[in-house]
């Protein structure tokens, strides 16, 4: 909404300020005419919004009744004042005090009723709208949890975030203020028009003369304003992108003395933003003074025309006074409504974006998603002829065939991009194979609920995501009901305990959002502890210790060795030292298993593994010779 402008009439105006007081966005100020957005299917979107009302129906109806009453009292006020004016317009000694008294008491009652209704309508609406927004947020979040990983890989997080925050905030605004305002504006508009026609059709014509002119001016301006705002928005987006990038990568900027380069680029976009911003603000800011002019002109034509009519004796001064007020009541909602309708449309477009996510089909699980079911014991995992591709024409995994047994460790090695991590994604059912099957004890995992499959896996993922919470809580994420003692035990096993103790607050140290305050290696250790705490029948380590130093890694290896009994271990590594003990090593290249066997047999085969191995240990030939020096 725009600046609260002066009301040169009298009487009350609707408490639209409530909106301006809301935090979270820059309210008031200039009229914001953002890029015009139109919902694609208004009726359907509104229909879906209505579903979120659930029990709020009755209250909402009541609120609309209240809006009607409040608007009516709003409308009747000027009429009453006109009558009041007529009681004293005669001048000295001719005031009709009896009528005045009655009229003022009636007016008082009118105002009180109006005030109470306004209060009640906003009070009730706050509950309803927040309930709806709460439900939409909740529904959306729940839905996000059920969407497949592929969805998150495909979508930009910034976009999802903006739907979850900005779009919902827009819905919130519209629900708590917009709808009521549009409705009451509509009633006021129609009512004022009817009252005016009822009081004097001729004066109505005079009053409304300037309206087409006002319309013309605002339409012309707002069309250009929108263009200017979208240009401004674009510059702002570019600038924010640059800011984000150069601050996230400030180490590199500084190390490469790229400050000049970055700030020159910044200045260029900043200048553009300033130019577009000035234009947009000027165009948008011109509307209120021009509308003020229109108001004043309309006021004038009413006053002059009314005066003339009074002189001719065809109207009373009171009616002119009422008219002056109605002309305000007519112009103001007219100004506001254009704005409100824009906001409403933007909110609906936002709602559509939210619903678009809700329309994404969740992870299919034909087998119900029984989340609790007994934990799965798995003795054997088998990949049968598994094929997979993200894009139809680019196969990532081909003819994958292997078995993993309980108590055994299976290692997967291969160059970057060979498909190792994809294999884990298939195992966790993040993605489904495009052909072939993955079996847990001869049972196709597609027939097992995802939650159960994943519950059986303890995965240390390559990207070691940590939550902004304490170290202890991050480890406990592996098993929520674990005691502090068990957390400690897991940390010890993962060799994370020593460094955690050196942190400022030990296990209670808060980790920042992206875990930036600890090193990559340390993050891996915490992730490992987290997975170990879960104590799963299948342990999957995807480059779990690639940034951990070798001695610590060796200790971890020993600890893991003890854990291997009774579970299936799948280890992905490019550091061959970590997998030498594996019972089976698969060498993956371009999505195919090109070799399999034990470390020894593979070395003897002198093929792909041998080459990999010697690439890594090439220089260790020399090391070996120098080894004699140690003893």
């Amino acid at each position: 909404m725009g600046e609260p402008r002066t009301e040169s009439g009298f009487g009350r105006s609707s408490p639209a300020m409530g909106m301006a007081f809301r935090p979270g966005r820059a309210p008031g100020g200039p009229v914001y005419l953002g890029p015009k957005e139109k919902p694609r299917n208004t009726r359907r979107t509104v229909g879906r919004m209505v579903q979120f009302l659930s029990g709020g129906w009755v209250t909402l109806l009541f609120v609309f009744v209240l809006v009607c009453i409040a608007s009516l009292s709003n409308l009747l006020g000027p009429y009453w004042i006109g009558k009041v004016v007529d009681t004293f317009v005669g001048g000295t000694g001719k005031v009709d005090f009896l009528a005045l008294k009655t009229l003022l008491i009636q007016l008082l009652a009118l105002y009180i009723v109006g005030g109470v209704c306004t209060f009640l309508q906003y009070y009730l609406m706050a509950g309803i709208s927040q309930d709806v927004v709460f439900r939409i947020r909740e529904k959306l979040f729940q839905h996000l949890q059920n969407l497949p990983v592929a969805f998150f890989d495909r979508r930009s997080h910034g976009d999802l975030m903006s739907r979850m925050t900005n779009d919902i905030e827009n819905i919130n605004m519209t629900l708590s203020q917009g709808i009521l305002q549009v409705f009451s504006s509509f009633i006021t508009l129609t009512g004022a028009f009817l009252m005016m026609v009822f009081l004097s059709p001729l004066l109505t014509l005079l009053t409304l003369m300037v309206i087409p002119l006002g319309f013309l001016v605002t339409t012309l301006l707002s069309r250009n304003t929108r263009k200017a705002f979208s240009l401004q928005q674009k510059a702002l987006g570019d600038l924010n992108g640059l800011i984000e990038e150069s601050i996230t990568g400030i180490w590199i900027v500084k190390a490469f003395t790229g400050e000049r380069k970055v700030s020159d680029k910044f200045s260029r976009i900043n200048r553009e933003l300033r130019k577009q911003g000035i234009w947009a603000q000027i165009l948008a800011g011109t509307v209120p003074p021009l509308m003020n002019l229109m108001n004043n002109l309309s006021f004038l034509s009413t006053a002059v025309g009314g005066g003339w009519l009074v002189l001719r004796g065809s109207l009373s001064v009171g009616i002119v006074a009422s008219f002056l007020q109605y002309s305000r009541q007519f112009m103001r909602p007219l100004n506001e409504m254009a704005n409100q309708v824009n906001l409403l449309q933007a909110a609906l477009a936002g709602a559509e974006r939210v619903f678009e996510i809700l329309d994404e089909s969740p992870e299919v699980d034909k087998n119900g998603d029984s989340k609790d079911g007994s934990p799965l014991q798995v003795n054997r995992i088998e990949f049968v002829d598994v094929h997979f591709s993200y894009l139809p024409e680019v196969p990532v995994l081909r003819d994958l065939d292997f078995e993993a047994w309980r108590g055994k460790t299976i290692a997967i090695v291969g160059p970057t991009g060979a498909g190792k991590t994809t294999l884990v994604s298939l195992l966790a059912r993040f993605y489904e194979p495009s052909r072939g099957r993955i079996l847990f004890d001869d049972r196709d995992i597609r027939t097992i609920p995802k939650a159960i499959v994943r519950g059986a896996l303890g995965i240390v993922l390559q990207d070691t995501y940590l939550f902004s919470s304490t170290v202890r809580e991050n480890i406990r994420y592996g098993r929520l009901d674990a005691t502090d003692e068990e957390v400690l035990e897991a940390a010890r096993m993962a060799e994370a305990d020593p460094f955690i103790r050196r942190l400022p607050q030990g296990y209670d140290t808060m980790l920042s959002d992206e875990g930036l305050n600890i090193s990559q290696g340390e993050r891996q250790l915490i992730s490992l502890a987290r997975a170990l705490l879960a104590n799963p029948p299948i342990l999957v380590l995807d480059e779990a210790t690639s940034n951990v130093d070798t001695r610590t890694e060796l200790h971890i290896q020993r600890a893991l060795g003890r854990l291997r009994k009774g579970r299936i271990s799948i280890v992905i590594a490019h550091r061959l030292s970590t997998i030498r003990d594996a019972d089976v090593i698969l060498v993956l290249q371009e999505g195919r298993i090109v070799e399999r066997g034990t470390h020894r047999s593979l070395l003897e085969a002198k093929s792909a593994y041998h080459a990999l191995y010697h690439a890594q240990f090439r220089r260790q030939a020399e090391l070996r010779s120098s080894h004699n020096l140690v003893e």
């Binding site: 040169s8 105006s13 004293f88 924010n240 400050e259 910044f266 300033r274 021009l290 959002d513 220089r619």
Partner: protein, 594 residues
């Protein structure tokens, strides 16, 4: 607040102009009801049509003048606010870029970003509002009051009562409302945090089947947000109708009182109508004032946050001014010769003398560290996670200053070398590769601006970028990041290595720079690195195989040098090195003979 006025001061002329023009509009607005009352009292009462028309004409004229003032104010205030915003943004950005690393450690990137984007915009919007409303509201308030008192001084008690109610209501609103608004904002941040974490950590959440737990967590945050929002909305829904009601009560009282005065002949009907019009104006300007106070509180915290950044210490060294004003505007950095590609490159030596260092708080990270690398030689630094290896590199880059001791570069105390010169001659490949959005070529050229095709090929050959870049249909022009291809960790590391090599640095710092690169590729990269002439190389690693061929190796353990020498020397007599060696080799040796 000082910040605000300082930013505004270069634009005081347009700002003053905006204020004056706005005053014009307000005077016009205040004048209108008075003219109208004359139409009623003089024109209508005496039946003087020409008077009505001439008054009408004057009203049109004044309305026009007022609009000119309004539009003029809009133009000047838009210009001023956008310029202030742009200047502030630019200054803040330049300052942020020049912050020292100890300062950067005290803030996180997201908060810096918010300050540059959101907070600056808040200030900008506020300046715009200030120039329009902050002048308009008090002027209307004063103008309206003066007019009422001029028209009828006997209404003073009513006005006092009216003001008292308004002040009370506004005070209540601000006292109760403000903390609630802040609370809502905090709860909203809480909800957003859960969402952000869930988007970033979705694989983890799914892998651990923690959907229900997260939904529970979100529900709690969501409920708190809802409850606090409802509280604010209800407060607002109670206060505002009350304010309007009080105004209406006052109006009824004035009508009653005024009617008596009319009866007594001391007041005319038109004047009474005008008085009531002024009352409405006063109420609205009061609302504007309250609204401004709320905004002011919010802007104050924005300004406070911006000031915090300005208060942070910049990197020492006067010559590192990247302040744009000191540099020619049109200076295209891409044309600056960062390294004279023809002149012979001279490698730099590095010497640490009794260096002690600790981060802001906490235990010493480096203690009494001394070592020396001759120019052109390779130093390997070996140590476990958290032993302080990367910190050594950070000190060489002068990201931090040693607490005690000193570092000599090229035989000179490091702080004598201008920071830009130092960093231009040092290249660094960090643990986590960071690439900018743009093409692969732009990223490799990032450190130097431009290079010959030959040099580009050379760098990408050594870093083995050539190996995968050929598979991209667009080669070096391939876009990376959001709108382009997603690179694997190893590919990113290789690009960032090529970026460093292209600088043809005097010192090359490699911090576990090939940890995500597969082994065969890594071996060939190391091969290439050994062929580098004219560069001192420092390799930080946990792997012995990466440092075997180093001219000297520093064994670091909890920030102290625990060994120094060549691979052979260390193997012979350094127990820690032997231990590390065994941990990496024993299996290897057991399998020996293959």
């Amino acid at each position: 607040m000082r910040l605000l006025f300082r930013s505004l001061s270069p634009y005081w002329i347009p700002a003053l102009g905006a204020v004056l023009l706005m005053t014009g509009e307000v005077v016009a607005d205040v004048y209108q009801p008075l003219l109208m009352s004359r139409i009623v009292d003089v024109g209508i009462r005496t039946g003087d049509l020409p008077f009505i028309l001439s008054s009408g004409f004057r009203m049109v004229l004044i309305a026009f003048l007022g609009s000119i003032g309004g539009v003029g104010c809009t133009i000047l205030s838009s210009y001023t606010s956008q310029s202030v915003g742009a200047d502030l943004r630019e200054r803040l950005f330049a300052h942020t870029l020049s912050l020292s690393f100890p300062s950067l450690d005290t803030t996180s990137p997201p908060t810096l970003i918010t300050r540059l984007t959101n907070d600056v915009t808040q200030v900008q919007t506020f300046v715009l509002m200030m120039l329009r409303m902050m002048v308009r509201a008090p002027l209307l308030l004063v103008g309206g009051t003066v007019m009422i008192l001029l028209l009828n001084p006997s209404l003073t008690p009513f006005l006092i009562a009216f003001y008292a109610t308004l002040f009370l209501g506004m005070g209540l609103l601000i006292r109760k409302g403000l903390p609630l608004f802040n609370l809502v904002q905090k709860k909203l941040d809480g909800v957003n945090r859960v969402v952000r974490e869930n988007l970033a950590g979705i694989r983890l959440i799914k892998a651990f089947v923690r959907g229900e737990y997260e939904i529970e967590r979100f529900r709690a945050a969501n409920r708190e947000l809802k409850d606090s929002t409802v509280r604010v909305s209800r407060l607002m829904s109670g206060t505002l109708p009350l304010l309007f009601l009080s105004m209406n009560l006052c109006m009824i009282a004035i009508l009653w009182f005024g009617a008596h005065q009319i009866q007594g002949g001391t007041l005319q009907a038109g004047k009474l109508i005008a008085i009531i019009t002024y009352l409405t104006q006063i109420l609205h300007s009061m609302m504007m004032v309250a609204f401004l106070i709320v905004t002011l509180a919010r802007v104050k915290s924005s300004i406070g946050r911006i000031d915090e950044v300005f208060a942070l210490e910049r990197e020492a060294h006067g010559d590192n001014k990247i302040d744009r004003r000191e540099q020619p505007q049109e200076g295209n950095p891409q044309e600056l010769p960062l390294w004279p590609s023809s002149s012979p490159q001279e490698p730099w030596s590095i010497e640490f003398q009794q260096v002690r260092f600790r981060y802001r708080k906490g235990e010493p990270v480096l203690a009494d560290l001394s070592f020396r690398v001759e120019g052109g030689k390779t130093l390997g630094i070996l140590g476990s996670t958290g032993s302080g290896k990367s910190t050594i590199l950070a000190l060489i880059l002068r990201f931090y200053e040693p607490e005690e001791g000193r570092i000599l570069v090229h035989g000179m105390p490091m702080h004598k070398i201008p920071l830009t010169v130092l960093r231009r001659r040092i290249a660094w490949v960090s643990q986590n590769p960071f690439l900018f959005s743009g093409t692969v070529r732009e990223n490799i050229l990032w450190g130097v601006g431009e290079a010959t095709e030959e040099d580009l090929q050379w760098a990408s050959r050594i870093a083995r970028v050539d190996e995968f870049i050929e598979r991209f249909p667009e080669g070096y022009e391939t876009l990376i990041g959001q709108r382009g291809v997603t690179l694997s960790g190893g590919q990113k590391q290789r690009i960032s290595l090529a970026r460093a090599l292209l600088k043809k640095p005097a010192i090359l710092l490699l911090d576990d720079a090939t940890s995500a690169v597969d082994l065969a590729t890594e071996a060939s990269i190391q091969e290439g690195l050994r062929s580098l002439q004219g560069t001192t190389v420092i390799v930080v690693t946990q792997r012995i195989s990466s440092v075997v061929f180093a001219d000297s190796i520093l064994v670091l353990e909890e920030g102290r040098a625990q060994g120094w020498g060549t691979h052979r020397e260390l193997l012979r007599c350094n127990p820690i090195y032997q231990d590390i060696f065994r941990s990496q080799m024993e299996e290897e040796l057991r399998n020996g003979g293959t």
